[in-house]
Amino acid sequence: MTMLSMRAVLLIVGVYGYFLIFAQFAFVELMRSAGVSGTKEKVTLGIMALSGIAAGFLAAKRGPSVRSLRIALIAAAMVAASSPFARSVPEIFWIPALVTGGALGMITVNLAAMLRRWCGLMSVGLGVGLGYAICNLPPVFMSSAVHQSFFAAGFAMIACLAVPRDGESAADEWSVPSHGTLPLIAALLGLTALVWLDSAAFFIIQHTHDLKESTWGEAMLWRNAAVHLGGGLLAGWWMKKTSGRGLMLGAWALLALAAFLVNSPDGRSAAGWLYPFGVSLYSTMLVAVPGWFSGVKDARAAAWRAAWIFSVAGWFGSANGIAMAGELQRVPFMFIVIAGICVWLATGFYKVLRWRNCFMVALVVLPALIAGRAKTAAPITPTTIERGRAVYVAEGCIHCHSQYVRPIALDEATWGSAGKLQQVLAGKPVLIGNRRQGPDLQHVGLRRSEAWLKIHFIEPRTLVPASVMPSYAHLFNDQRGDDLVTYLKSLGAERAFEIIGEREKWQPAPSAKKADAKHLFANHCAVCHGCDARGGGKLASRLIRPPTNLADGPYLWTAGEGKDAWQRVARTIKFGLPGTDMPGHEVFDDAMIRALTDELMSWREK
């Protein structure tokens, strides 16, 4: 890395640092602490944006120059350093807004237009990554708005000192080819979508306490700094090696996935990694596009590109993203999809928009739309069980559950004896399935009650702690959930006497293996029977019939003493009690059944 490119890196770090820590954060906080809020706040920020756009185009018209860049950086430093004092006169807060916006417009356009003279794409990635990383360091990020303003003034001054001398250039910079060009309209479309999406997501994160704590809390800042730096470096390398189009798509995929995951508490940890990574990718591209991927031949033309891109993608995109998030308090799924389509179009897809292609796509898509409408208009007259079966098919239950007991010992001992193949093949469609992530369901109606099934659909891990089954609570917002439960309850009904009869002959085989009965009880029984086994588990009130008090009785279903009672208890654990909410635990092996039965019987004896 040459001295010139190191100065360029420092310049990018300073500009990004100033923009992120002051324009995005400290300035807004100072303004609010001065009492500028509501409409006044919007007007002030509007002045900043308009001034930024105007200054950007002015910079492009005058042509990029080192002198303009230095003057703008000095102005930026001064306004940041003086803003804390402007809090005492809220009436004139529009003046720092005007200067900040103007300085930023001037700085960013000049910088993006001249960078190619000074450094390569790897340096751009390093500069952007470092800029983000430094702003995320706890001493900077967590400090007060006043201190952040002073930090920002420092950033601007360092950047000003790093600006290379006029005429200083690494080589014949415009003769080095880049890997491709991104037409202006494509760059505007793709980058605006990304800035919009990022601004909206960031607004939501910063204004939702839980979300902020789990993604941008103090403990996460070092991680975020590292991820930003890594993202910037990767983006620089990626652009150096290929065209930037894949980068844009990759950034969207990361941001979209983060926006998707952030809705689930368990997904927030992953979202916290993906979001800063995606931001660094596209931010690096935002800086590099005007100089490297515009297909322009000199810095002046690059400045015009920069002015357009920063005006539309930067100012317009971020303002709309924040406004949308502020209004809706979420990032709508449809918006993520639309942003993806914009990015997709920007990455070159627009080239295929020929009339023949459009015609063919229409020819294929229109019948589907018509058929979809026709289907919703059709009358529905199936029985509850048929409707439930349709839900089973629609939800793809066959991908985790079989409905086929094979005529082999392990299957028959676990799920009941094998039935007739012809009966299975009579189903339309046949629901044999090909994978068991969960139990076989051919006779599930004989092992589970309606109440148990419903609770399990809504909160699977409450009943089965290690279950990989998703929650299907949404099915109970309409009729589908109850239909599905009715269907499942019907499975095995035609063989009820036969299978229940078989169970009476079952007894657990002797086993040298030792199972931990207390652990089994705590994990699989206590939720209904209670930790003390007296029937007061947390689900007890949701069951039709209260769970048995296993400590004191009465033992309606397993009365008696000695070997017979022991066998009845073992069978009850294994197969459940038809007609009650007591489920079967058919996947327990015999050692588990023995251990649990011994434990329950020992309580009775006490």
Binding site: G246, L363, V364, A394, I398, N523, M592
Partner: protein, 404 residues
Amino acid sequence: MSKCGDDPVRDACGHALAWLAVANGVGLWLALMLWFPALNHSEWTYGRWVPVHLNLQLYGWTSLPLIAWLFRLYKADAESIRPWASAALWAWSAALVVGAASWLSGMTSGKIFLDWTGGALASFLIAQVILWVVLVAAWKRNQSTWDGKWRIGLLVALMSLGMVPVSLWFASSPAVYPPVDRSTGGPTGASLLGSSLIVVGLMLAMPRVARLAGHGIKGSWLWIYFGISWLAFFIFEHIGGTHRDVCQLISMAMLLPWVWIIPRDWSGYDWPASSKSWRHAMIAWWGLLVLSGWLMYQPGVLDRVKFTQALVGHSHLAMAGFTSSFCMLLMGLLTGSCVGSKWSVLLWNMAVLGMVIALKISGWIEGGGWSWMLETPLWREIGWGIRAGCGLAMWLISVKWWLG
């Protein structure tokens, strides 16, 4: 490769790689949902994503290279047909998008790999008809440039292709189901032989239709054995039975000689140097697929691995290992360049192997008893971790191939 241009053969390869990247992304998502069930979101749960992954791999990734091959055979890349051939590809891809939307919204026939129903089925049938019409137009335009035998051969193939939409419509009906081995609930040995023989036919055709210099195995015994294999399929499929019956075991055993025959046949041709890595990978995967498939069909073994991750591993061996290598090799022959660098090819195959081994070991343990459904044993966590890690590597590589 993926640049949209005026060459429908390259365009088809570009579409194929795009679908590979998308389908692998969905596969990775599925692996993560299994590992972290909380990632299942509202209506779009694991069960709805599975058909998206399976069908995009089959009808997107593995079908489009064959379409590229058809374009080359019928000279659909000739001047006047070219834009229509490229447009037909967009119709195909649009049908896949409609299909994916349909499966995610819960519209499915409930038949694995034949989930097409309602509007999605109509879309896909129309896309197939469009493609067929393009091929008919190409044949009509170019017929005078071919000699008699080749012209008739292509016409016969064209008429057979015309039956594909009808077959798909018939096969995707919920009322139709193939013969079942009653002891497993899965396909019979003869069914597996039949589907494998189609692949054998494609492998025998590849160097011959590509008109590579050299020649395959001399003499007619190769074709006699191929014919006998098909005859065995028809007879044993008609007889039916289970994996404990001799005729079904013979069906599977009839595949074993092809592990040796295919490389022996191919070694007589002068393959382009750029095809080396994928050709070797494909032959290795083919051998592994047939040998492990035969082993897993044996009584006792199939009883243990049926319904477990071992069979999921075998599917990945077939699709991500063997079929993907075949498609890559085919695309390389059609475009004259190898897809992926040496390292990316190696990394892909290593990732597939890692995933297959993890799935097969997990499946073997699963088959010993079902108590793992109630606990989360360490071996399952490790298996999911390896699966997701390999899936991530495969997805990243496929994205690179597509964008590259």
